[in-house]
């Protein structure tokens, strides 16, 4: 029964997305062109990767506000390891990603070992990681990366942007893990009833630790793509990204209280938001006006979700 209901939410979302696309295409003839759509896919990939891990986090009933800061920190470290420390670029990329992943693991450790609510823990590390990025970089940007590095953010494979491939593969993997593996089952169980999950022999803390670590990893991966796309590293990269990711996940039908949600829903939520942003921009709404839309969509989606929950409960 619940499966049927989840699909119903996603069906509605899919229909909404199609309607939005049709409306936007009629508002601007530039919208529904292959170039534009592929370009939008390129822009979506970074938030997309983060949203995949965020889905797991929110399904467990947690939240990770520090992803934008982890992205910024990873980007800065990449530049510093390469430019200031003098490591070869591949090593710098790898090491920066290890650091980003470690930052996620630290989140998980604070949350599981010290029982700090995820909201508070990641709010603190949001400040800490961004602060480290600012302190390490001292607002100096790193440029002048070799040409081959730009492939990750600007290259194409078979006519499709490289990061869209990464995003696609990551989506499939995440969907398989959440939907089909014991790990996914444990994730849902923890979000729906952590105590009962523990009493059923689920390794609750270990599962959560993995998920927050994965969240750090995804943010680090997004950082590399981001740097490659914009050809520079700055310490303010990824500011506010957590909001976009949370919005996509919640819009995708994942309950903010945990226990319910799917990767397909998140993917649809991402597409809808990106389409709205792009379509509005093409229709002449100024760049920052689209942030308003995200905020409204987030609150609206949760309100509808809360009402839906209430009806279901009653």
């Amino acid at each position: 029964m619940t499966v049927a209901k989840l699909f119903r939410h996603e069906t509605i979302l899919a229909i909404l997305t199609v309607i939005a696309m049709i409306v936007l295409a009629s508002l601007s003839d530039k919208f529904f062109t292959l170039d534009n759509l592929l370009n939008q896919g390129r822009l979506m990939a970074e938030v997309g990767l983060i949203s995949l891990a965020m889905t797991f986090v929110i399904v467990t009933g947690g939240i990770d506000l520090s992803v934008g800061s982890i992205l910024g920190l990873t980007a800065i470290l990449l530049g510093v390891f390469w430019h200031n420390v003098g490591l070869p670029l591949p090593a710098a990329i790898l090491l920066a990603m290890v650091c980003g992943t470690f930052a996620g693991w630290v989140n998980g450790l604070i949350i599981t070992r010290f029982s700090v609510p995820p909201l508070i823990a990641t709010l603190a590390t949001l400040a800490l990681y961004r602060g480290l990025a600012e302190g390490i970089s001292e607002a100096r940007s790193v440029r002048g990366y070799p040409e081959w590095f730009f492939f990750f953010g600007q290259g194409e494979v078979l006519g499709v942007p490289f990061q869209l491939w990464v995003m696609g593969i990551a989506t499939l993997i995440a969907a398989a893990i959440l939907g089909l593996t014991p790990f996914g089952r444990a994730t849902y169980a923890i979000g729906a009833n952590e105590v009962a999950a523990r009493f059923s022999g689920i390794r609750v803390d270990a599962t959560k630790l993995w998920i927050y670590t994965a969240s750090g990893f995804c943010a680090a991966l997004a950082a590399v793509i981001f740097v490659s796309r914009v050809t520079t590293t700055r310490s303010d990269m990824g500011t506010g990204l957590e909001l976009d990711a949370i919005t996509a996940v919640v819009l995708g039908g994942t309950s903010i209280f945990g226990g319910r949600g799917t990767i397909i829903g998140t993917a649809l939520g991402l597409i809808l938001i990106q389409a709205l942003k792009n379509g509005l921009a093409l229709s002449g709404v100024k760049g920052d006006g689209t942030i308003v839309v995200i905020g409204l969509v987030l609150i609206g989606a949760i309100l509808v979700g809360a009402l839906f929950d209430r009806n279901r409960g009653g």
Binding site: T2, A176, R185, V195, S200
Partner: protein
């Protein structure tokens, strides 16, 4: 129902601070209180007794305004009243000292006593001076002048918090004070202190509804005692007219053996052995042996350490001392998954919060403890999961639309069978069942009892915890009694009578502990 009215109290009904007449209350079609009459006189301690599920807590919740009765009347000072909310009951002078104390940890003692009705200055602001003075006076009256009124409640012991709740009731001018298992979580010296507070309240004319299982307290404090059984009133008697065995048999009532299935087969070899197992101060020095094919009953009051012992064996609160042996080999159980992998299953006491993930389906719940076995490659095998669920549904007679029905839609008995199904699917050799039939209707109860017998007959070792004495006596091949975190008695089938077990359960062990 016959009510044995005594004395001339009802003649002057207007003086009674509260009287219940022919109260009935049903939940989901099951009558939990049926035609019960109950009255309180000013300045008396009236003990309310009965087994779990006898209807005591429903009755006191009706008095406190938390539930509305389906039938019957509530009369306060001679007038028929309705309590649509706890607030109205408060206004009528009925206060409750809760089992789980409803205090504000970060506010001071004085504020906790007066919150919601703080004294005001002429400016309408909170008058801290008066509030603190009155708090001090109230606590002095309760012989608790040693409590610092400016301290945050956060740091206080359970006994002190209870005194604050009582002071809070006095501040509200309560004429009836309901105390629900007030000594369940108290240390011995706090119990003595509480008893002297109850006596001083009685002198002030407060009527006290005293819910407790502990015989020594009942006989030391109560003026009258009312016994409920299966939602019906058994009798109301002056305490001078009853004795301990009499009370126990009034509570237990029905003959026990005919309800329970007989033992099948004989006990096998020892499979689980505990020696000197402790967890902090709640589980102390536990030692026993459990054999294959045996149902071992663990009796005791709430808080006596029964569930805590089970949680220690199951690895939720790992043992801090002592040794657990399985098949004679010492094992270390530090987590539920370790316990499960050793063949231990635990059907927990609180189905809704510990046993099941209620929004999820039957098959998802059953799969949860068996994910390793139900996985092919890296993926959960959906077909195997569904087959496992269907198997459980037919094996245990779970009444459901199918494996994909969310468990929250099932009745209590069927939910319990899902929990059982989940754990039996792990192929355990040791099954711990904590309150296996709590909140389950009679029919499902019998089915679960039959199933337990059958499992034992097939060689399962079962450790059963129950607060229902008839269940313990009827199902167990052997009974261990816990009190104060220790095992204080062991009875074999023949010697396990309600009187004998009940006495050991409720005795206070301060003398033995001191010795």
């Amino acid at each position: 129902m016959r009510t044995e009215q005594i004395g001339d109290a009802t003649a002057s009904g207007a003086a009674l601070p509260i009287e219940l007449r022919a109260i009935s209350k049903a939940f989901a079609g099951i009558k939990v209180v049926s035609n019960v009459s109950f009255d309180m006189r000013p300045g008396e301690v009236h003990a309310l007794m009965g087994e779990n599920g006898a209807g005591k807590s429903t009755l006191i919740k009706i008095m406190a305004g938390l539930y509305q009765p389906d039938e019957g009347q509530i009369i306060v000072n001679g007038a028929v009243v309705r309590f649509p909310s706890p607030k109205v009951a408060h206004a009528a002078g009925i206060a409750t000292v809760h089992q789980e104390l409803l205090l504000f940890p970060e506010l001071t003692v004085a504020e906790n006593i007066f919150l919601g009705q703080t004294p005001k200055t002429s400016l309408g602001t909170i008058d801290w001076t008066t509030m603190r003075r009155r708090a001090r006076e109230l606590l002095d009256e309760l012989d608790s002048g040693d409590l610092d009124i400016d301290q945050k409640v956060l740091h206080l012991s359970v006994g002190n918090r209870q005194r604050i709740e009582i002071a809070r009731a006095l501040a509200q001018d309560a004429r009836v004070l309901i105390m629900d298992e007030p000594t369940a979580a108290l240390a011995e010296h706090d119990v003595q202190r509480l008893m002297s507070i109850v006596r001083s309240l009685r002198r002030r004319g407060v009527a006290i509804v005293y819910v407790s299982h502990r015989m020594p307290e009942i006989f030391a404090l109560a003026d009258r005692v009312t016994v409920l059984r299966d939602g019906h009133l058994v009798a109301t008697r002056p305490i001078s007219e009853v004795d301990e065995p009499g009370l126990v048999s009034m509570m237990v009532g029905r003959s026990i053996d005919r309800l329970y299935p007989p033992k099948q087969g004989t006990d096998g070899e020892v499979i689980l052995e505990l020696s000197g197992v402790s967890h902090r101060s709640v589980v102390r020095d536990i030692a026993f042996k459990l054999r294959r094919g045996e149902i071992l009953g663990l009796a005791g009051l709430v808080g006596s350490g029964r569930t805590e012992t089970a949680l220690t064996i199951f690895g939720i609160t790992p043992a801090t001392q002592g040794q657990i042996l399985i098949d004679g080999k010492p094992v270390s159980i530090t987590s539920p998954e370790a316990a499960r992998d050793l063949g231990i299953a635990y059907v927990p006491e609180d189905r809704a919060s510990q046993g099941l993930i209620r929004p999820q389906t039957i098959e998802e719940n059953i799969a949860l403890a068996n994910l390793k076995r139900l996985t092919r490659g890296v993926f959960v095998d959906a077909a195997k999961v569904a087959a496992e669920a269907r198997n459980a549904i037919s094996r245990f007679g779970i009444r459901a639309r199918g494996p994909e029905q969310p468990v929250r839609q099932l009745s209590g008995g069927n939910q319990q069978k899902v929990v059982l199904g989940k754990w039996l699917a792990t192929n355990p050799r040791i099954l711990i069942m904590d309150e296996p039939t709590r909140g389950i209707d009679v029919g499902a109860k019998a089915e679960i009892h039959l199933l337990m017998r059958k499992l034992a007959g097939e060689g399962m070792a079962i450790l059963m915890i129950s607060s229902e004495l008839p269940e313990v006596l009827g199902m167990s091949d052997r009974v261990l009694v816990m009190n104060g975190g220790r095992i204080v008695g062991e009875f074999d089938k023949e010697h396990a009578t309600a009187e004998a077990v009940g006495t050991v359960m409720t005795r206070s062990y301060d003398k033995e502990q001191a010795a």
